[in-house]
């Protein structure tokens, strides 16, 4: 059977396998765009994978002043975790250490849903009795006095149980530079999809993993089937012309958001073509038995 090609880029007949997750979102604002982004970048640092970070988090979209509750520049940050308790803990710790501390910041709910997580309801105690409770337009806020004025934070934010984590694309190229170029193009396109984040550094993972390993206690270990240097010594998925593989992992507020992001990524990579970027696009799965959500690449072609 001839392989499926789009603009010369081979599309594997496979699927990405993803899992149900819990997700929440907040809107962080600041006096200017730079500091809104800085607060968000700090709070989403070390939040690449639930394997060891507790949550996966990144900036979803930047918001212009007109789209934020207080009329200042802001960003929407999404956090994903496997349990409600862990998500709650990560949210409060990260907002408390990284947003509360960031100059001029304020923090609002970025998601409404039937389940609520504590936000200001937990962090208000920093005010040591001088915190001010405010209810405006059906929403509850806390104003916490701090050294540059006040930290304004909404009491709660919403949580969704419909979120999906682990959508992915594998971009196979004949050099590291081309793989990186393809991955960067994909991430740039996927960034425009609302409700989806790519939690790894710059959205890109170079150390894709498989479940388990030969050492006891390892939850995940190197994805040897896609490691070019192991082509000769273990069962490989790579042809002789592939020298670098980069992965993009996608978490979405909904399954549709993950599919839309993957579609945008595939479109960007195929538009770049095999000469400049990736020769082949594949996806990671576990045989289809572990994850509830399957994203077939064939169904997501541009």
């Amino acid at each position: 059977m001839r392989p499926l090609k789009v603009n010369g880029v081979v599309i594997d007949d496979t699927f990405a396998e993803a899992f149900g997750m819990r997700a929440t979102a907040i809107i962080v604002t600041a006096p200017n765009r730079k500091w809104a982004r800085q607060a968000a970048i700090s709070m989403t640092g070390f939040a690449t994978s639930v394997i060891a970070c507790g949550c996966e988090a990144a900036i979803d979209v930047e918001l212009p002043p007109a789209a934020t509750p207080d009329g200042r520049p802001g960003v929407r940050v999404m956090l994903f975790s496997v349990s409600t308790d862990e998500l709650q803990k990560q949210l409060v710790n990260r907002v408390g250490q990284c947003v509360l501390t960031s100059p001029g910041s304020a923090c609002y709910a970025g998601l409404s849903g039937p389940t609520e997580l504590k936000l200001g309801g937990a962090l208000r105690y920093f005010g040591d009795g001088w915190q001010i409770s405010k209810k405006l337009g059906g929403k509850h806020y806390w104003r916490v006095p701090v050294m540059d004025g006040e930290f304004l934070i909404e009491a709660t934010t919403g949580m969704t149980k419909e979120a999906v984590g682990g959508g992915n694309l594998l971009l196979l190229a004949d050099s590291s530079a081309k793989a990186l170029l393809a991955a960067e193009a994909a991430v740039e396109a996927m960034d425009k999809v609302h409700g989806a984040i790519m939690p790894f550094p710059g959205g890109i993972v170079r150390s894709g993993s498989k479940v388990g390993g030969k050492y006891k206690g390892m939850v995940a270990s190197t994805n040897n089937a896609f490691a070019p240097t192991l082509r000769g010594v273990s069962k490989s998925e790579l042809g002789p012309d592939i020298n670098a593989v980069l992965e993009i992992v996608i978490d979405g507020e909904t399954s549709d958001a993950v599919a839309a992001a993957m579609k945008a990524g595939i479109a960007a990579v195929t538009a770049l073509g095999p000469e400049k970027g990736a020769k082949r696009i594949s996806a990671g799965n576990y045989g289809g038995k572990l994850g509830k959500f399957h994203y077939h690449l064939k169904a997501l072609l541009p």
């Binding site: 209810k135 405006l136 337009g137 540059d148 004025g149």
Partner: protein
């Protein structure tokens, strides 16, 4: 179904208690039973039928065609739907309201919105004293919801207010926000003496510096407050102001330090 309309036949000669004429109070009453409700508060004891011509059926949308300062307790305990009066009303309009809309196209007497917990009251004319305030013996005044007075409020607006928002667009008398427990009181235009007198917590928002504030309020400078932006946008969204009132860094007076001292008076920095 057409809205239930009470058209005033003639000016009442006694005070009227209209607290029963709400969607809840009129539920399952036919036209005859409604006309028989006694509303007069003197020994005359006028009934609805004596004072009003009743038309329409939809009890969730009640209109009083014509108002009078003897109309007491309009919209009492309203928990949904709408009540509108095309003229003035008397005391305790919207008392203990929980939800819904009460619109008074004229002026209201004292204690409008007293013990209110939710819903909206809009008053196009003036409001009397103790807007949103407690009746004698009650511990707290307004406890939620929103009151907008398009003209002027009397003394003690927002007295002992605990939660919610009151906005007065053309000035208020003395002691606005007296003894506030919490909540937000916005006054555009002149305010009388001692705004926030003995307030514990809560926010009084003014469009100009208070002329005579209590010496137990202290200036807290004009730090940048994200809350000011949030409130400005809320007030614009609610149609209370057209452009931002406070700006990003309003002046702040903290008080009343004669009591708890966790309240504030905010006004734009010039």
């Amino acid at each position: 179904m057409s809205r239930l309309t009470f058209t005033l036949r003639h000016a009442p000669e006694e005070r009227l208690d209209l607290s029963a004429l709400t969607p809840k109070g009129l539920a399952r009453l036919d036209r005859k039973a409604i006309a028989a409700i006694r509303i007069g508060q003197s020994k005359r004891g006028a009934t609805v039928g004596d004072i009003f011509r009743v038309a329409g059926k939809d009890i969730s949308d009640i209109v009083f065609e014509g108002g009078n300062e003897h109309f007491d307790g309009v919209g009492t305990g309203l928990d949904g739907g709408a009540v509108r009066v095309t003229g003035d009303v008397g005391a305790r309009a919207g008392r203990a309201m929980r939800a819904g809309n009460l619109i008074i196209e004229g002026s209201v007497g004292p204690h409008a919105g007293s013990a209110m917990r939710g819903g909206r009251i809009e008053i196009f004319g003036n409001a009397g004293d103790h807007l949103g305030g407690p009746l004698a013996g009650e511990l707290a005044g307004m406890n939620g919801g929103q009151i907008v007075v398009r003209s002027r409020a009397g003394d003690y607006a927002g007295d002992r207010m605990r939660r919610g928002l009151i906005a007065v667009l053309k000035g208020a008398g003395d002691y606005p926000g007296a003894r506030m427990i919490a909540g937000t009181l916005v006054v555009l235009g002149d305010v009388g003496d001692l705004p926030g007198y003995l307030m514990r917590r809560g926010s009084i928002i003014l469009d100009r510096p208070p002329k005579k504030s209590s010496p137990s309020f202290v200036a807290c400078g004009a730090p940048e407050l994200a809350f000011a932006g949030l409130l400005d946008r809320h007030l614009i969204a609610e149609g209370i102001v057209k452009r931002p009132l406070l700006g990003p860094a309003p002046n702040r007076l903290g008080g009343d330090n004669a009591v708890l001292g966790l309240g504030e008076i905010l006004f734009p920095a010039k």
